[in-house]
Amino acid sequence: MSAFNAIGEEREIDRDEFTPGVEPQPTWCPGCGDFGVLKSLKQALPEVGKTPEEVLTVTGIGCSGKLNSYLDTYGFHTIHGRSLPVARAAKLANPELEVIAAGGDGDGYGIGGNHWIHTARENHDITYIVFNNEIFGLTKGQTSPTSPKGHKSKTQPSGSAKTPLRPLSMSLNAGASYIARTAAVNPNQAKEIIAEAIEHDGFAHVDFLTQCPTWNKDARQYVPYIDVQESDDYDFDVTDRREAAEMMYETEDVLNEGTVLTGRYYVDEDRPSYQEEKRAVGELPDQPVAERYFDDDAEWERSYDLLDRHT
């Protein structure tokens, strides 16, 4: 039987296919940036030619984690911070799946930080969208790893003493081969970037700025968002590591001050994905491992064949 591989079917894919026909309605607050991510994903997926069945979205916990509840693909809503290891393995098990992981800044940069660094280092061929609202949303507004220094919350009542994390630079240093930042308030750019990230072979990290009007009143949803690629003032080569690093550094400094730059920061098309590297050293079979279970002709080696060295 052909259990896998819905791929290859020639037809127009409508974005409505990614919208569940019945419940649930999103439980996000009015004005939440998360709606923007959902929308751009729904627009991007048909554009890259994926049917809902070929896509597996894996999310963590938080308001962001609800993403795949409102998206009609295969989905796995995992546990806090663990979307990446689940997503990585699904891709290794069946490389034909389009695997998209998503989560919040607390989820991905905080509790799941270790997984993020290592997924980037290994350059797994998955897309990772982080809903960066600089706050813990679902647990009611505590300070997150990207909250600005001095940010006051119930758990940092005197203002946070912590310097915020620099997600783009972190990802670059860790080894991600596609790094971009976009924002819910830039819908056209967001759609484009998400589509590009999905098509990229390797770890594509999109830091998606999502305002949280409920808990992060200081959210800069009204400040100007400048697309770095469109602006002559910010001319740099996105394939050059050093230039990208410098741009990220500057941007991440001013992020909390007013102007917000979005766009692609780093694109390395040459670096092979982890899946390719693993296949090259003989650690990943050519045929998706998951398919073998449905292949009537597959040969299943027995432990009996392995006993020679023990006799």
Binding site: F4, N5, V22, Y74, P85, A93, N94, A290, R302, L307
Partner: protein, 634 residues
């Protein structure tokens, strides 16, 4: 204590090649027709530090280490020296001799390496006096010098084996064969030279007054020398496992390594990842995407896995985890066995848990139950845990090769094909009712795999509706929760009715007294029961493997059939006895405990003694390292 057995102990510094030497010697003994059982003692140090391996060999079945031993090959700890030949850690070089004398049986043989162990040090040991007292036969040999002369110093192990063979009157052919399998060229040549030289010199120099000889035996079928880790790895392969993810931790690393090394040839995927949370989460992800997946760890690492374990339970993702116990709490004793994680494995992770736990007691059971674990996990969409320990993991025994001659079982259990999905229930928007109310034979609702047409659904660690939407609807909650929990009843029923029992019985069927044990303590208990019956007691034994769902019926019948029972386990808090009482709600006044938790596994004699003190009411104190826990009311 039977006389027709050889228990050979090779002692030296870890990193001195003791493992490979003993492995080869054990194989040579097996090939000569004997049954063998190895026991390894090692410190948590990579190089240096006193370590030994014991090989017990006999013409009859051996299932445990013996009581003491009768042949010591003491090599000297070469890592106690620095390259300038000065002692590194004080007097450590002599430890392989000095640390091993207490357990050497009367009439035993000692061979020590004069080349490494100095005369003055030996004088401090009063070796001569002790030898006279115990009728030991002492053979100082310059093994190091001999090895240096014909090759390199490290080959002194080979010289030691040559001396052993001479003293026991063994033929060298099996040892030579194994050497030629393992090495070639100059290295092989030097080793063979050393082997023969040592053999001849010993024969020429000494007259043997001792009567210890290599026992005789023969096997009717071909045998393989395997560890518990091998058995688990092979059980996984035959169970269809083609994905493993892990993070190293002793002793779980063995299973991880064996599968990793075999997977490229048989089309599997292995991942070493950043931590154990990731390791188990990867196994969940791979299984979700349609591969039979496994992960595992030892206590500390398993602690981190409790999150993904719960996720697998809630999402009904099939999965096999192995937990190779070592002495705890916390990092505990990394290289010492204990059976202290039973309660942890049964109950870790939040909420009402629904998982299956098997505790194999020997190598065959380890293979069998790992296969079964895969079968049950995929048939019932439930995580299954194999709990074992450092002892079972590392001990090597000979097993009939034919035992493994079975077809693999790669089936994905309760997973639908695309054809079947067409017939399955969907909601109004076309989502597959993966956790539906209709299709739940044996409390299982069949699943789809990402990529399949017509199978879209959401898997979530939150409570969820039939299509997987987060749901706090009370009726749905009760339905889903009950179904997940009641899977254990369905599994129990299947294990009772359709599968051969996982429990092992031994001793005399109508005996008055019972000894119950679990996991790797089985071997020593089997032997103790045998000895007790030979000496006129009336005892039978039960080794239990089904921890969850618990082997309720079998344990009840066993306990009802005896007047009193002793529960033997390697931990300080009688965890297994507690489980029996919790599961059966009675027998508290019928059971006493024999507990050992000093880092060394039971010796049969300790169990015999425990029985005598506990059940036969002999008025004496048991050995210091063993604790007796009296019976308590229900």
């Amino acid at each position: 204590m039977s006389d027709d057995e050889l228990i050979w102990r090779i002692a030296g510094g870890s990193g001195d090649g003791i493992d490979s030497t003993s492995q080869n010697f054990a194989k040579a003994l097996m090939r000569s027709g004997l049954d063998v059982f190895t026991h390894r003692h090692y410190p948590s140090r990579i190089r240096g530090g006193h370590t030994y391996v014991e090989i017990r060999a006999a013409g009859h079945e051996v299932q445990s280490r013996g009581d003491g031993y009768n042949f010591l090959l003491s090599l000297g700890d070469s890592f106690a020296r620095n390259p300038q030949e000065e002692a590194y850690y004080g007097n450590e070089e002599i430890k392989p001799l000095s640390e091993n004398l207490d357990d050497l049986r009367e009439g035993g043989i000692i061979v020590y390496d004069e080349g490494l162990i100095s005369e003055e040090d030996v004088a401090d040991l009063d070796l001569e006096e002790r030898a006279e007292e115990n009728n030991w036969h002492v053979f100082p040999m310059d093994l190091r010098g001999l090895a240096k002369e014909h090759g390199r110093e490290v080959m002194r192990n080979t010289a030691g084996v040559g001396v052993t063979a001479a003293l026991l009157d063994m033929e060298l052919d099996h040892i030579e064969d194994l050497m030629s399998d393992a090495m070639s060229g100059d290295v092989l040549e030097s080793n063979l030279e050393i082997l023969h030289e040592a053999y001849e010199t010993t024969k020429a120099e000494y007259e043997f007054e001792h009567d210890l000889r290599a026992p005789e035996g023969s096997h009717e079928t071909e045998q393989a020398l395997l560890s518990g880790s091998n058995a688990i790895a092979y059980g996984a392969i035959d169970g269809g496992c083609r994905f493993i993810s892990g993070y190293p931790m002793t002793p779980w690393t063995d299973v991880f390594t064996i599968l990793t090394q075999n997977f490229p040839d048989i089309g599997g995927v292995s991942e070493q990842v950043e931590d154990e949370i990731a390791a188990a989460a990867l196994a969940v992800g791979a299984s979700h995407a349609g591969v039979k997946a496994m992960s595992g760890s030892s206590g500390g690492g398993f602690a981190l896995m409790s999150e993904p374990l719960g996720l697998a339970e809630m999402t009904e993702t099939p999965l096999v985890l192995v937990e190779s116990m070592r002495a705890g709490p916390s990092t505990g004793m990394p290289t010492k066995p204990e059976q202290g994680d039973l309660e942890f494995v049964l109950y870790t992770s939040q909420g009402d848990s629904s998982r299956v736990v098997f505790a194999p007691g020997n190598i065959e059971e380890a293979y069998e139950q790992t296969r079964l674990a895969f079968d049950i996990a995929w048939e019932y969409q439930i995580p299954t845990i194999i709990i074992y320990d450092q002892k079972l993991s590392g001990e090597n025994t000979n097993v009939d090769v034919e035992f493994f001659d079975r077809e693999p079982e790669p089936g994905l259990g309760a997973t639908l094909t695309e054809e079947e999905l067409k017939e399955a229930a969907h909601d109004a928007s076309g989502k597959f009712e993966r956790f539906g109310y209709d299709d739940n034979e044996k409390n299982v609702s069949k699943r789809s795999l990402p990529g399949q047409k017509g199978g879209r659904y959401l898997a979530t660690g939150n409570e969820h509706s039939p299509v997987g939407h987060i749901s706090e609807d009370p009726d749905n909650r009760v339905y889903q929760m009950t179904r997940r929990i009641e899977k254990l009843d369905s599994i129990r029923e299947e294990l009772d009715e359709e599968r051969p029992s996982n429990q092992t019985y031994f001793g005399e069927e109508d005996a008055e007294y019972g000894i119950i044990t679990w996991g790797s303590s089985q071997g020593a208990v089997v032997e103790a029961v045998q000895r007790l019956n030979e000496s006129g007691h009336s005892v039978k034994g039960l080794s239990v493997s089904d921890m969850m769902p618990f082997a309720e019926q079998e344990v009840t019948e066993f306990l009802e059939s005896v007047d009193e029972a002793m529960v033997v386990e390697m931990n300080a808090t009688a965890q297994f006895r507690g489980l029996i009482q919790k599961e059966l709600g009675r027998f508290g006044d019928k059971m006493t405990s024999l507990l050992k938790y000093n880092g060394n596994p039971f010796e049969p004699a300790e169990i015999v003694e425990g029985y005598e003190v506990n059940l036969a009411d002999e008025d004496r104190e048991p050995t210091a390292q063993v604790r007796i826990e009296p019976a308590a009311g229900d």
